[in-house]
């Protein structure tokens, strides 16, 4: 299989403009003849549905939530990057491009990243025009803050609820189109299968989660904006219902899955407190603007933080990375926290935690300023831990937060399966092996507002202007049959163990062997354990209730079944990538000082996996990454 990224000709800075200038268009009168299915209504899905509807296409948007406003984009706290240079601190499109390439540890496509940096400025304009209440200065201009991996202030924010405000902006644009009738919204509908007709994606099978009704939907193109797969780990900062089923079903139907091993472990989350825990809560990276991270210098120092004198504290990020300090990128900060805890210097009951201390900032700026900046985050921390971070340092520990891998797409966001487009976190394209903070919102909205609406017509222009395939066609009947069979299997399995118990066990395997540090032996063991667990799942899972009603256990069963396959693929990818880069750290590949050792000779490529059948070994394909503008350097934040 040849994976052609279809990168346009010309100098890097002109590629996107040339592509738009010379791309094919669809006549305004013909647009409504094209039906487009968009799965997901997060930042990418909602913004794409709104924009394509506004352009005149017939859009059908699907969400398993009860309202398009609930997607997990809503939980992003800290901000969104844009190369506006409103701070006059030397920012530019090039610098945002460069920071993103370097932050991604030279494992992303230059052309995609440059385009992302270019359109970043349009996103802020668009959101402000929609009424998104970004933070402002007294003079009325927009305010910025700093984020990890950058030495400029380019992050726009709306208190600690930036994701919510951006999603509500996209939701308002989507609502307007729904009201105008250009977008038909299908809530409570979960995509359970992709329908491929003559080698092209032409429809989906959904289940109405409230009634259990299975439906067939056809279109001229299918777009997935269904988010990432971090819930493979069970415990993560993802919403409980976030899942990979749409992407995984597409993968099984022929779409290759790229770089599944690139997972982001966020350094500042509230530590796990008990066995019953259902999710981990993030404390925004923005806290690292004013908070200082430290661990006790002595092993096993169990004194309360206030009793540990200054000279017995190890501000390890400031010590190891003096030029970026507490704002070192996420992968590096997470690994440093793990090292401190592995050395026995962790804090809290479990010893899996380090301090994020605001006492210096409170002394310097006053409690009111800190409250103004982070009040809601301190409140969340208090709710969960019952501790006040104004008085005692926060305890934090890394947690799974984002997945850089995803379905492979070309420059047009089309997968190798024609007619199937993938946006946002669900694709693999822009963040390489590590995503910088405040760049997920940027990518979701870039893809939905500005990229897809300009690239989808290139495909549609060549699609005959005939009605979308009939939902009575054999491909639709067969796909529905697969869904019915799977659902029936779950409900009639008569097993003894709950879906949740399997999810938990899978999560433990993934965290232990495919988490922050990975080894050959560990990954091989994990693959074996996952295969055993999968076999046990299908033999012994118990799904109570019926199919024709709201049945949350049945929904979870389908998702966990897919995670059990995806988890294995993640381990296979991590095993094959014999280097350390970004969010993928192999113990065997490190410098003597513990920093990640890339192998640019052998691994400066995208690994895209092709599904070969149930319980078959998937095939690894390669898309080489050519760097024209940037030179490989060892990523240093020292």
């Amino acid at each position: 299989m040849i994976l052609d990224p279809k990168i346009p000709e010309g100098p890097l800075a002109d590629k996107w403009k040339n592509h738009v200038d010379h791309g094919k268009l669809v006549n305004p009168a013909n647009k409504r003849k094209y039906e487009i299915i968009i799965v997901g209504s997060g930042l990418a899905g909602a913004s794409a549905a709104a924009t394509l509807g506004e352009l005149g296409y017939s859009v059908k948007c699907f969400s398993f939530h009860d309202s398009p406003r609930r997607a997990h984009s809503i939980a992003a706290q800290g901000g969104i990057n844009a190369a506006k240079n409103y701070q006059n601190d030397g920012d530019s499109v090039y610098r945002l491009f460069y920071d993103t390439i370097k932050g991604g540890d030279y494992r992303s496509r230059e052309a995609n990243v440059h385009r992302l940096a270019e359109v970043s400025t349009n996103i802020i304009d668009q959101c402000v025009a929609q009424g998104v209440p970004f933070a402002r200065e007294y003079g009325g201009t927009l305010s910025n803050r700093s984020f990890g991996g950058a030495q400029v202030s380019r992050t726009f924010y709306a208190r600690g609820q930036t994701g919510q405000q951006l999603l509500l902006g996209a939701y308002s644009a989507l609502s307007r189109q729904i009201g105008l009738g250009t977008v038909e919204m299908f809530c409570n509908q979960e995509m359970l299968e992709l329908v491929v007709v003559n080698g092209e994606a032409k429809g989906i099978i959904t289940r109405n989660v409230n009634t259990g009704e299975i439906q067939r939907h056809s279109a001229h193109a299918v777009v997935l904006g269904t988010g990432g797969y971090g819930n493979v780990f069970n415990l993560s900062t993802y919403a409980r219902n976030s899942n990979a089923t749409a992407a995984w079903r597409a993968h099984r139907k022929g779409a290759t899955f790229a770089n599944p091993c690139y997972t982001q472990i966020h350094p500042t989350c509230i530590p796990v407190s008990g066995d019953y825990q259902s999710k981990l809560t993030l404390m925004s990276e923005s806290l690292r603007n004013d908070g200082r991270i430290w661990a006790p210098e002595k092993v096993g120092d169990k004194r309360p933080p206030n009793e540990i004198p200054e000279d017995e504290r190890d501000y390890y990020l400031e010590r190891k990375y003096p030029s970026f300090g507490n704002l070192a990128p996420r992968d590096i900060s997470s690994r440093a926290a793990k090292e401190a805890c592995d050395e026995g210097r962790g804090v809290g009951e479990t010893g899996l935690g380090v301090y994020l201390d605001f006492s210096d900032a409170i002394k310097r700026l006053g409690e009111d300023t800190i409250r103004e900046r982070y009040g809601n985050l301190f409140a969340i921390y208090k709710e969960i831990t019952n501790e006040s971070a104004y008085e005692t340092p926060m305890r934090i520990y890394p947690a799974v937060h984002y997945t850089m891998g995803g379905l492979w797409v070309d420059y047009n966001l089309m997968s190798n399966l024609p007619g199937l487009f993938v946006m946002g976190e669900a694709n693999f394209s822009d963040h390489g092996a590590n995503r910088l903070g405040a760049s997920a919102l940027m990518q979701g909205l870039a893809d939905g507002y500005f990229v897809l609406p300009n690239t989808l017509p290139h495909y549609l222009a060549d699609v005959p202007r005939e009605p979308a395939p009939s939902i009575d066609g054999p491909e639709f009947v067969a796909a529905e049959g697969e869904v019915m069979e799977r659902t029936g299997k779950f409900l009639n399995n008569n097993g003894t163990k709950s879906v949740k118990s399997f999810h938990k066990r899978l999560g433990e395997i993934m965290w232990n062997y495919c988490g922050m540090a990975r080894t050959k032996e560990g990954l091989e063991k994990a693959i074996e354990l996952i295969q055993q667990l999968r076999e046990e799942f299908w033999r012994d899972v118990r799904v109570p209730g019926e199919g024709k009603e709201l049945n949350q256990a049945l929904e979870q069963a389908g998702r966990v079944a897919d995670f059990l396959e995806l988890g294995e693929l993640m381990c296979r990818d991590a095993l094959a990538r014999e280097e350390s880069c970004g969010g993928h750290f192999r113990d065997e590949h490190q410098y003597p000082d513990g920093e990640a050792m890339r192998d640019d000779e052998a691994f400066a490529h995208v690994a895209a996996w092709e599904f070969k059948g149930e319980n078959e070994v998937p095939e690894r394909h390669v898309e080489p990454l050519d760097y024209e503008e940037t030179k490989f350097t060892t990523r240093s934040y020292k």
Binding site: H65, R69, H72, K84, D125, V128, G163, S172
Partner: protein, 254 residues
């Protein structure tokens, strides 16, 4: 700790519902209320019974999915939090806790504790937006907005669309939701051109969905997980009056 639960069970909106009793044992006070329900459901599943259906997603108080009436209060005993941010330490060992769905005519029951809040989406579709084409926006700093206005708009925009305001209101009014949504956009310069149609259409849609009238008792604001202020009512009333009078006299925008 141990608690007893009285939980509303209802197969769907067409059948009668009723309370069932359950026991939740050996709980950790630092568990969230929903994690406690997870544990109860695991036990029900092990016993071969039908688990309790309840709505949840982000479990960090921002998506607005969770929606339990706990001891008669939307989202439980604490102020300024959603159900998912309610922890068992807010209850005492041995307590009996009554759990119901958000009940309102405009929110039909789907199953057990899950209700359908699509009516909120309909209100948004009627006018909860600024009509701006993608790509047609001026530079973001071309519209200066005073910090006080931006902050007020953000206060209103914090609404998570959970419906606690409606559940708390004896009339099932959606006044807090609508006033926050319309207020955010009507405060900002970007929202001015459509200010009048926005309030007229959103209020009409609210009435059509079957929400009740507001009698200014502010239970909504007290129950709101984001503590959105009832002050936005007066803004909505003012905007609505102005828009109605202008429409009545077919006034030109002179």
């Amino acid at each position: 700790m141990n608690v007893k639960l009285r939980v509303w069970r209802q197969k769907n909106n067409d059948t009668e519902g009723g309370f069932e009793n359950y026991e939740a044992k050996d709980l950790n006070p630092n568990m969230s209320f929903l994690e406690m329900l997870d544990v109860v459901n695991e036990n029900l599943t092990d016993d071969g019974s039908d688990p309790i259906a309840f709505a949840y997603d982000c479990r960090e108080g921002i998506c607005g999915t969770c929606s339990c009436m706990i001891d008669g209060k939307p989202h439980g005993p604490e102020t300024g939090v959603a159900t998912c941010q309610t922890y068992m330490r807010s209850f005492k060992d041995g307590d009996t806790i009554t759990v119901e769905p958000f009940k309102a005519k405009a929110f039909p029951i789907v199953k057990d504790l899950v209700t359908d809040r699509e009516a909120f989406d309909k209100i948004q579709q009627a006018g909860g937006f600024v009509s701006v084409r993608t790509g047609a926006a001026p530079d973001a700093n071309a519209i200066p907005i005073g910090k006080d206005i931006a902050d007020l708009a953000m206060d209103a925009a914090a609404c998570i669309g959970c419906g606690a305001c409606v559940a708390a209101c004896k009339n099932s009014s959606a006044m807090l939701f609508v006033s926050a949504k319309a207020g955010q956009l009507n405060l900002l310069p970007q929202g001015q051109p459509e200010k009048d149609t926005r309030v007229l259409n959103m209020v009409a849609s609210m009435d059509e969905a079957g929400f009740g009238n507001c009698t200014n008792q502010y239970e909504c604001s007290a129950a709101c997980p984001k503590l959105i202020s009832e002050e936005f009512f007066s803004k909505l009333n003012r905007d609505y009056m102005k828009a109605s009078v202008k429409t009545l006299f077919k006034a030109k925008a002179l």
